[in-house]
C-alpha cells in the first residue's frame, strides 16, 4: 500500500516514513492551521 504523501512548505512531496527515517518522530496533527 502506498503511504499518503504530505508536502513541505516548499511544496515538495514526502512521507511520514521519509521524515522519520533517521529519528523517532512525534507527528502532531493539528485540527486546523490558525
Amino acid at each position: 500500500m502506498t503511504e499518503p504523501r504530505v508536502k513541505d512548505l516548499d511544496g515538495h512531496d514526502t512521507t511520514l516514513a521519509e521524515i522519520a527515517k533517521n529519528q523517532p518522530t512525534l507527528f502532531i496533527f493539528v485540527r486546523h492551521f490558525g
Binding site: 523517532p24 492551521f33 490558525g34
Partner: protein, 131 residues
Amino acid sequence: MQVHRERDAFRELGVQAVVIGHSSLRYARAFVEETKIDLPVFVDEKRALYKELGFKRPILAFLTPKMFRRAAEARRAGFSQPGVYGDAFQLGGVILRMPDGSMPYRYAGQFPGDHPKVEDLKAEVAKAVAS
C-alpha cells in the same frame, strides 16, 4: 501549542516533533509566519493521513461542553485561535513513529481541544524510546 513550548524536552529524548495540518500550503505558510513556530510543518492537503490514522471529523463533537472548557483553559494558558482554515470539523491527533515504521503511540482527539497532556506525552515518548 504545548509541544512547541516543550520542544527542547523532546529533543533531549532524541525525538523530533513536526506539525502536520490539512487544507493548503498557503494556510500552512501563513500559520508559520503568524506563530513563528520553530518546528517543521507539513500539509496533508486531502486529509488522507487523518483518515488513515482514524482522526475523526464528528460534527456533533462540537456541541460538547468539554470543548468550551478546553477553549477557556487554552485562553488562560495564553493560546489563542485567530481563525480556522480548511475543514473546521476535522479533529487532530498525535502519533509517535519510529524509524523502523512502528507506531508505539497514537492519540486521536475526541472533541475540539482534546489533546494529550504534555507530561503524559513526554512519559509515553520516553517509554517508547527506551524500549
